[in-house]
Symmetry: C2
Subunit: 416 residues, 2 copies
Amino acid sequence: MNDRKEAEALDRADPLAALRDEFALAPATIYLDGNSLGVPPKAAAARAQTVIGAEWGDGLIRSWNTAGWFALPRRLGNKLGALIGAAEDEVVVTDTISVNLFKALSAALRVQNARDPKRRVIVSERSNFPTDLYIAQGLIEQLDRGYELRLVDDPAELPAAITDDVAVTMITHVNYRTGYMHDMRALTELAHARGALALWDLAHSAGAVGVGLNDANADYAVGCTYKYLNGGPGSPAFIWVPKRHQNAFSQPLSGWWGHKKPFEMSPDYRPDDGIGRFLCGTQPIVSMALVECGLDVFLKTDMQAVRRKSLALTDLFIELVQTRCAGLNLTLVTPREHARRGSHVSFEHPHGYEVMQALIARGVIGDYREPHVLRFGFTPLYVRFVDVWDTVETLRDILVTESWRKPEFAARGAVT
Amino acid sequence: MNDRKEAEALDRADPLAALRDEFALAPATIYLDGNSLGVPPKAAAARAQTVIGAEWGDGLIRSWNTAGWFALPRRLGNKLGALIGAAEDEVVVTDTISVNLFKALSAALRVQNARDPKRRVIVSERSNFPTDLYIAQGLIEQLDRGYELRLVDDPAELPAAITDDVAVTMITHVNYRTGYMHDMRALTELAHARGALALWDLAHSAGAVGVGLNDANADYAVGCTYKYLNGGPGSPAFIWVPKRHQNAFSQPLSGWWGHKKPFEMSPDYRPDDGIGRFLCGTQPIVSMALVECGLDVFLKTDMQAVRRKSLALTDLFIELVQTRCAGLNLTLVTPREHARRGSHVSFEHPHGYEVMQALIARGVIGDYREPHVLRFGFTPLYVRFVDVWDTVETLRDILVTESWRKPEFAARGAVT
């Protein structure tokens, strides 16, 4: 592409173009950080007013029933499940990814301990999002029974790492830094062939790429709602457990929301049948309710259309950076192969942090990740092809003029 | 008291009367369930709009820094800490009570395991709020090292139960059903004398009664913000750990928010110094931000004044029920002694459920708890003395006319 007009033409032909109007995004902002925090659906503000005014204020305690608050984790879970290849009643929206990972990992280790207690290894990647590794470390330390976290440095090492002492693989489908996407079906199959269970983190997948959890025969999954799903800052996460594992799912965060009859107030925990037992405590209803606004936008399209546009956007971005920013010291980190690419694209630059600060100062909001990585997220519901064009032009200008060397972009203190 | 006019006079003399105007409460509603879900502060609706519009919408990802989202758990923790006798940087607002209890209980058992591994007992009450017991059961099952949950049936049995094999006492300061309030200082002292640690659940205490965690030399505490603190439905809970225990605090929910340098993205967990390590995952910011609206109302008074009014309200309620509803089959469950009474009052009635439904139908919203308990919460920030009078008159009318026998109040299906 050599001309912004071509990008404009792509936008005119884009079947998802109208969905941008569902979001409250300042017109002057090019937002390529929806993979960190999605933008607010326009419906969110009104929904918050309803929850606070009519439900909390007028309904008061009655709203747990009359406004459906009790049912929210499951109702939202079902809406979300449709985007990730889950069946009905296999997903609940609740807690954080870290907490849900703790539940799923605990459950997986229990199942394996009963089946084959020699299996004491959790396999993951050193480049996984750190909280996943930290949670595994925390659980291993607590169990204190010789469990081990085995980390590979490259996806190609996974087949050799999944040996017959592995209890569970804990892999993030799309890498937060590189955008590398694993083959969920093949890795799950490999794990099963070696007797391991496959736990997937969908933080950068849900709402971003096609995910077929049941098709892949995966065992557990967790993910978040505040990135591509536009649920709001820190909105509650989700956990998926397929029907076949639900009644064997046993985990230590056995709070009252997971009880079969929570209002009987029995002193003994008795897990609910099915997905109820993935819940623990009372959930933050205002934040939770806003998750639905984001999910409802997805009902107006489907993940095939979203994925098609995502690949078109990232293809164009890679092409334009490589043609228009050639020789400007940017190194592509993200796979070119569609099957291995999520919905964000990362480039390394020796002064990545400063370059990103300069971009942000000019209204192009991407993200920086240690070390040296400029990360650009493409959220097909509201990012346009002209945004891609304009981003690359701004990036080129910053790199050519070296305006990122200005003092205001140079120094950084504590990374935040 | 024999006349509503006397209640009106008490309201005119009430130094907290003006604070009722800080809350969005329908004038026709008498709300005596603020111990389950507090009413919305009027500021909450506008605060939600700011968070969703200016912070999430305009600030987008930058708001983690510019709007102070990262700092919220600690900033709110400090505001809340002032109400429960905590020092600066000893409280964070985060997660749910159940999850925070899991952290605190895990940490307590680790400390004791290092000191004296024979201590394998957690002491609590069978009448404790069930989620506390369930979490202890979940942790015990997970550790699988012979830990035991020892439950007493009466507070008087606690001294005998806290033997020298006890690792930690896990007691809820004010009982959710009866309103019984423990002597935190004496029980903590007893626990320490027997070599145990004292963990307190403040769900029905924070914002309701005077709490002096450091004065009592307590070891850990958790609590919620959606009852007397008016944080909103399911708003995030809190955890308190005093300075002396903070750097020995080690728990398995070691998510990235508890890391010393979360944005270094190191694959190895290294807990933050101090209270940072009580955090785990990304918090629901919209729900979290609303917690501040409730806390800010408390800044306009102090817990001494709140407690004084609370006791005056509950004294009056008990007096009026016993004089005006005499012979109507109501049995007081809550202690009369001020030092043993929280901020709610419970009466048993053989048809408690139906009576409460009839009250609610007449605009007096209390709560029902199995078995047979009518529970009335008195939140001094917005409950008036005339509300007490009117509640008792309505209750008397319902009992005298037996209007609770109407079919619409009779049958109940699943308790919710």
